[in-house]
Each structure stands twice: as structure tokens, then as C-alpha cells.
């Protein structure tokens, strides 16, 4: 057993020191009936590295990975090229196998990275400050709503219909138990975002307004107008960004009046990973700092006056504050934050802008090509790297038929909004820098064939 260093001789000598005749004696507090006499039945015994690789390799091979097919999915998880140095660096044992930096003297590596990360996120979002990460975008969104309730001492959140439905579902699930009030607007297959409806839903009891930017259908809401309405009602504007690369091209939400900006950071450094682990981003105004959820890293000095970093304001956190904690977050996404931060350090603002430009470029090419197919139309012409196409029939079947051809052709709105039949002809497609013109051509040919098949 390759991970266990004790030898049989070690075990004997240690038992002697301990004063036990056998290891069973050490388990004597376990009630007799609950003690298992041998390995649990029906489970395999230990296996060699090679055997484990074979087993998992076979399972991996059963999946169609994004690199092996023309790939156009987004909807909250984006495929971007990650420089090889990122994955190399996060695997340095000192980063990978460290614990939460509770002993700052020997954790400056992690801590300085978190400080740099917080600065990067804040500058990208246009917020004063940011925290050291959350589980993912959806839980960050819920934490933002909770924080707004604490700050405003009100309990009603208004969710735009453009919010990712899984985010909305997480919010509604949690609110069911905490008894917060959630007003969820109904999404529509329209060229416009639902800014007007959102503004109309705000009243004096509203604590927060949650708007996604760009929204789940790839459209771009007018944040300034919504911010004005929210602030007039003493509510906070929470902006959700599921594709941070968009902020290389679009104005930062913090510059448009957002009080809190949360997001999903997997686009940079982290990868698709079938949905997790991902990286929750959280930025806000400086005045909310003591109401913020999650860990914070702050600058200080050591006994010799050298600059150093520590986790700070941890009295907000549950392992200290217990029943009065500001959030449920404990373990967070440190390693994903590291990956994000390295990728962002390589890109810089300049690289982020270039990356955004090529994403938008590819999506323009995709839209041009797909809208040449009879029956396919574009929902809205203000988009970044993701658009909704309207098809002549239920997009769920179309996606499945494309998969049969080896094409991963987007996400159907029917899968995201199963209960809203009026959206079911919508197909959400994304093109990042990883998409080639050949991919687009193959997708177009496949989509045309699938749609023609219907006519036939």
C-alpha cells in the first residue's frame, strides 16, 4: 500500500509504546456491534496505480471532450485556452498541498497571491474591494443577496429574468429555508433585456436587484438605468458576471453603478471540469467590508517591519463567529483563485482586452454563418461571445441530433428553462478563441442538415 509508510515492524514497536497489544484495542470505545471485523464486503481490494489509471482512463474515454469536437457551449461555463504555465505552477507542492493560511509566517505564498487576486478582481469588476473567492458564481450570488439584506436591513430580492436559471434556483432554494422573499421575473425570448420590468419590480421593501451582464441569453442590460432605480429605493444593485472575459470589452459593472459584483471565474485558469471546482468572485463597495462574506487577505507588517499578508476580519467567519457568522463559506476556492490570478497576471489588462476581442470576433463569424441557414435567426445583435439563436423547432432535439454527429452545438433554452415552453426554440451558442473557422463550418453544415432533416 504505497501511501502508507508504516512497516509491520514500525507498527509493533509503536503498539508497544502505546501499551496496546493490538490496534483493535485502540478502537475499544466503538460498540462491539458496530465494529467491522474485516474489509467491507462487496468492495474491491487495493489496486496498483496502473489499474486505477486503466479504470479511470476508460471512464474518461466514454466522454466526448470539448477538444475532440466542434464545441459551442457556454451558459455559465466557458472554454478558454489556459497557458501551460498556469497548470504547472498550481501543481507546485507548496501551493497545492498547503492548508488555509492560518499560520501566515509560513503561508506568505498563498497570502500574497490572494492579495494580488483581490486586487485583480476588484480592478476587473470596477469595485473598491474583492474577497479571496467563494465556491462558485451561484453561491456568490446568493451570498450577495444575503449581504444586501444585512446592509439594507430589508429582505426582498428582485431577480432579472436574464439571470442564469441555475443561479435563480440556488437563490430560491436557499431563500425557502431562510424565508427571504425572492421576486423572479420571467424570461422572454426578446431582443431586449428586461430592464424595464426589473425597474418596475423595485419598491421600498427591495433590498437588492440582481442582474446578469451579459445575461443568460447573451444580451446586455443597461446597468446605469437599473442602478439609478435601485439606489432611489435604497436597494443595492448586484451584478452577476458569468463570463469575466466579457469585461475585456464591456464597461466594468462597478463603473456603472453596481454596488456588488459577483461572478464565476472559471473562464480564466480553471477550465470546464464538468462544472467544478469553479471559482466564485465577489467584489463590492469598501463600506460593506465588515458585512462581506468569505475570506479576506489584508496587508500588514511583521515584527521586523517587512511587508506581509494575513487573513483578516475573520470575526465575520463562521469558524469564529458560530451562530452569528456572515456566511456559510469556510473552505473556499483558493487553488482556483491561484489559477485565475496566474492566468490574469499573464494576460494583464491588455491581454484581457485582446482575448475579449478575438472572442467577439469568432462569435461574429459564428453568427454570420449560422444565420445564413434557413429558419435560423438571431435574437439580439448586441452580444459579446454568446448569442441566442431562434430555431424553427425545439432546440433540445436539435442539440441531441448534433451530438449524434459529434458536434457539441450549444445549450438549448429548453434544458435551462424546461417549464417555459415559449423559450424552447432558443439555442444558446458561444464561440471563444478556441473555436476555429473549420469548427464553425462543421457546425453550420451539421445544423443545416439537422434542420433540413425536419423538413424532409
Amino acid at each position: 500500500m504505497r501511501y502508507l509508510p508504516l512497516t509491520p515492524a514500525d507498527r509493533s514497536s509503536m503498539l508497544e509504546t502505546v501499551g496496546a497489544s493490538s490496534v483493535d484495542e485502540l478502537f475499544r470505545d466503538v460498540p462491539e456491534a458496530a465494529r467491522l471485523s474485516g474489509p467491507i464486503a462487496g468492495l474491491p481490494m487495493h489496486a496498483s496505480e496502473m489499474a486505477v489509471e486503466r479504470h479511470l482512463g476508460k471512464l474518461a474515454a466514454k466522454n466526448l471532450d470539448a477538444g475532440s469536437a466542434p464545441f459551442f457551449l457556454g451558459a455559465g461555463a466557458y472554454r478558454h485556452h489556459v497557458p501551460a504555465s498556469v497548470d504547472h505552477l498550481i501543481q507546485r507542492g507548496e501551493f497545492l498541498t498547503a492548508y488555509t493560511p492560518y499560520q501566515p509566517e509560513i503561508a506568505q505564498g498563498t497570502l500574497q497571491v490572494l492579495f494580488e487576486f483581490q486586487t485583480q478582481v476588484a480592478r476587473m469588476f470596477g469595485t473598491d474591494i474583492a474577497n479571496a473567492s467563494m465556491y462558485d458564481g451561484s453561491t456568490a450570488c446568493w451570498e450577495a443577496i444575503l449581504m444586501a439584506a444585512r446592509v439594507t436591513r430589508k429582505g426582498k430580492a428582485v431577480l432579472s429574468g436574464g439571470l442564469h436559471p441555475h443561479y435563480g434556483e440556488v437563490v430560491r432554494t436557499m431563500a425557502k429555508f431562510t424565508r427571504d422573499e425572492i421576486v423572479s421575473l420571467t424570461p422572454e425570448l426578446s431582443a431586449q433585456t428586461d430592464d424595464a420590468a426589473v425597474i418596475a419590480a423595485i419598491d421600498e421593501t427591495t433590498s437588492s436587484v440582481v442582474v446578469q451582464y451579459p445575461d443568460i441569453m447573451g444580451r446586455i442590460p443597461d446597468l446605469e438605468a437599473i442602478a439609478e432605480a435601485a439606489h432611489a429605493a435604497k436597494a443595492l444593485l448586484i451584478v452577476v458576471v458569468t463570463e469575466p472575459v466579457a469585461l475585456g470589452l464591456l464597461e466594468a459593472p462597478g463603473h456603472l453603478g453596481a454596488d456588488v459584483v459577483v461572478g464565476e471565474g472559471q473562464s480564466l485558469g480553471v477550465g470546464l471540469q464538468f462544472g467544478g471546482p469553479y471559482l466564485g468572485l465577489f467584489g463590492c463597495r469598501e463600506k460593506f467590508v465588515r458585512q462581506m462574506p468569505g475570506r479576506l487577505c489584508g496587508e500588514t507588517v511583521d515584527a521586523e517591519g517587512k511587508r506581509g499578508f494575513v487573513l483578516t476580519l475573520s470575526t465575520r467567519e463562521q469558524h469564529i463567529r458560530r451562530e452569528k457568522a456572515t456566511s456559510n463559506i469556510c473552505t473556499n476556492s483558493g487553488l482556483c483563485a491561484l489559477a485565475f490570478s496566474i492566468h490574469m497576471s499573464l494576460l494583464g489588462g491588455e491581454g484581457l482586452e485582446q482575448l475579449a476581442a478575438i472572442n467577439h470576433d469568432r462569435t461574429q463569424a459564428l453568427v454570420e454563418r449560422l444565420t445564413q441557414i434557413p429558419g435560423v435567426s438571431l435574437l439580439s445583435d448586441a452580444y459579446f461571445n454568446e448569442v441566442t439563436l431562434v430555431l424553427p423547432r425545439d432546440a433540445r432535439e436539435v442539440v441531441r441530433e448534433l451530438a449524434d454527429k459529434g458536434i457539441l452545438g450549444g445549450v438549448s433554452l429548453g434544458r435551462l428553462f424546461p417549464e417555459q415552453v415559449d423559450l424552447h426554440n432558443g439555442l444558446l451558442v458561444t464561440a471563444t478563441e478556441t473555436v476555429t473557422l473549420e469548427d464553425i463550418e462543421e457546425f453550420a453544415a451539421g445544423l443545416a442538415a439537422v434542420l433540413e432533416g425536419e423538413a424532409a
Binding site: 464486503a41 499560520q103 506581509g308
Partner: protein, 489 residues
Amino acid sequence: LEEALIFELGCEGQTGVDIEPASKAVSPALAKFRRKAAPALPGLSEPEAVRHYTRLSRQNYGIDLGPFPLGSCTMKHNPRLNEKMARLPGFADVHPLQPQKTVEGALEVIEQLADWLMKLTGMASVAMSPKAGAHGELCGLLCIRAALDARGESREIVLVPESAHGTNPATAAFAGFKVQAIPATPEGRVDLEALKEKLGPDVAGVMITNPNTCGLFEPDLKEIADAVHEVGGYVYCDGANFNAIVGRVRPGDLGVDAMHINLHKTFSTPHGGGGPGAGPVVLSEALAPYAPLPFVTRGEDGEVRLVEEENRGEGHERAFGRMVAFHGQMGMFTRALAYILSHGADGLKQVSEDAVLNANYILRSLEDVLEAPFGKSGPCMHEALFSDAGLPEGISTLDIAKGLIDEGFHPMTVYFPLVVKGAMLIEPTETESKQGLDRFIASMRNLAQRAREQDESLHTAPHFAPRRRLDETRAARKPVLVWKGDEAA
């Protein structure tokens, strides 16, 4: 040893990534949304970036450098095989919303891991999506809440022992329950009688950690569970210490209804300087129907099936909702499954045996120089608890911890559990060798000796770390959370 910040190293307008130039202009419809200026962030060339992070990493201590005896954190060896497996393109490069037939292998991983977790715990079901331990606790309590709702009851009280992890009462409060504390006995265990007295129709359930945070097994857990069940409540078990009993004891056999499992503890997914973790929750028959979506299950036909909002009616209609956007921590699932398959049923049993033996070896090798408050209670489980009671005036647990840094070790957990004054909770785990333990014991004895000799230098330790003690008060008083060096100008 001071490493410049990226903002001091690089300059704006540069980038360390080569990106193909765009061939088209930005579409006119986007014009009004455009950013006025790129984020004010430097782009480092790759050589600069590699050096920056390599040098920073060397200011960190990790399991790869030596023991990390943090009680209740189970910092064990992280096998590289697991990293390799998680990076197979078939796992790392698949999208959570791909058509199900293109991700059957990924769903198999989730199901196979779930199956192991159920069998290792003797439970009926498992909710895989929670992102970490505390998130798992929340999931378990929400299952309890949902089960009570289904019964039309609105019980408000959750009983939590004093010695519980801080996350336990925090989670209960977050889920809308009222927390009532249960005292500990002088032997460091739950006071069974005190608990029974609090039981009644208002009690939704009890949250217990077993082995508990004093490092002891709760022999009365089954009796507690029976009593709680009798009044209609549920038993939540904090699984943070599962490493002590994995393969030897099934919590389901002790009457537990819900228990989260920290894959980053017992099943060795790396902690990464603060996550990502993963906190699947095993559930009893009673709570199984309420596990949140998405839910992966193996059908009668042997096929693995994914249940989401779209098809919840087909078999998991009572799910209490959704806790995260996608499937949970897939990358951690793959690593944990690789770890479990590597050990097998026999190896996992050896894991808990060696973990417990190592802890007892430390307990018995140090109890003559450090006060072991429950040393007389019998063997400890996977962690050994000491206190500063025997140390001379003026020498604190913190001094010992910081002194340990100078000896080349990561400190143990300090000042936890709260029930012991100046607690030092030492968890070696099974992946430490006897030679390594002996070195650690020698260092601890050396520190105890220096403490007895009132060695002043202990107060200012560490002396040989990348930094001396850091001013945490200053950091909290006027928090500096982002770099503003360029604004000063």
C-alpha cells in the same frame, strides 16, 4: 525574501500571452457598452510570471515538505496519480451542460464514488453537489428541514455539543434553526443525560461530531440516535473526523441520518491553500428523498442517469431544490475515486488503523511533558489533544505553535476545541512515517523543555520562517485589501 507584487513587477499595456488578432471590428451594437479603458492590470511575460509564482510558492509550507499535524483537518499525502487522473481531457475538458450521452463516463465517476461513500458509511443515498464541509452541513440540515416540512412539522431546535466545530452552530443558524448547546462530560464526551433532557417535540435534530473534537469516539452515539429518533428528530453527524473510522465503522450502523464527508480530508483531495474542497452528504432512508438536484442515480437497468429540474418527476421529485449551479466538485470526485480505488476496502481499513495508531503514539510519547486532558479516558482516535495547563506562566500554546515552525513543522491546531483551555490538537494522519513522528516528538519535547526553562525566545518565534510574527491587529483595524500603489502617485 520579499517578493514584489505583480503590480510592481509588470507594467500595464503589456501581456504575456500571444493572442491571434481579431479580424473584425467590434459590432456597432456593442459600442455603447464598451469599456473606456482596459482594467489597470499588468501583464507579465512568461519568464517573469513563472519566477514570481515559483518564488512565492517557496514562502509556503505544504504537505509535500513535511507533516501538517492540524487536528480536525486531516492533512494527509496527496497522491499525484489523482492529479493526473483529474486532468484527463475526458474529465477536465467536458462541459456540465453537454448532452448526457456525451458525458456518461463523468456521470459514472459520480455514481461510482457515491456508491463507495454509501457502502463505507452504510447509508442509503448521497447528495454529491455540496462544495465543501460547511456546505455539506447545510445540505444535511436542509434535508432535515425538508423532511420535517413533508411531515408538516416546523421544529425549530437543533442541539449542538459545546465541543462542536464552529461551522455546526453557524450552519444550523443559517438554515433557520435555533441552536441549543449540550455540555460535555469531564471525560470529553457528550453528556448523554443532559442531551436526553433537552429532547422533545421541538427538536429537529442533533449535530454530533464523531469521533469528537477531543479526539475521542462517542460510545453513546447509537443510544443518542435512538433517543432522538424516538422524539421524531434526526441525527446529523459531522464527518470531518471520518478518517479515524473509515473502513472500520459505518456511521449508518450508529443511527446517523446525515453526514457530510470532506473529500479533501478523508479522501485526500489537495487543500490548495484553502480549497476547493467537496462535501458530499450521505443520507439515511428517511432523508434520501430530499437530496438536492442535480442528482445522479443508477437505474434498474444499470444505466447511470442524471436527474435535473427538467426530469425530476422521473424519480427524484421530492428534492429540496438546488445548492450549486452545476454538478458539484467533479475534479475532486475524480481524485477521491482514484484514492479510494487505490486503497480498496482493505487499504481504507489500514488507513484508519494507522491514523489511530500514529495519534496514540504521539499521545503516549508526549503525555509526560504536556498535559493531556483526556489521556486517562483511554485511547484517542486519530488526533491527540493536549493543553497548556502544564506549561509555566507566560508560555502560551501560541508560543509552542510558533516554536514548532522553527523546528521545521507546521503547527498543530491551537485553541480548539474550546472546551479545553489552550488546546493543542495534533492529528498526524496515516501518511506519516514512524521516523517522521519521532522527529516531531523530539521537537515537541524540545519545545516543552524550552518552555520549562522559560526560554524567552519562544515568545518571538518563529525566527527562521519567511516572516516573523505578523501584526494581525493592524491588518484588521484599517484593512488594506487591494493594492493601491499606483493611486498614491
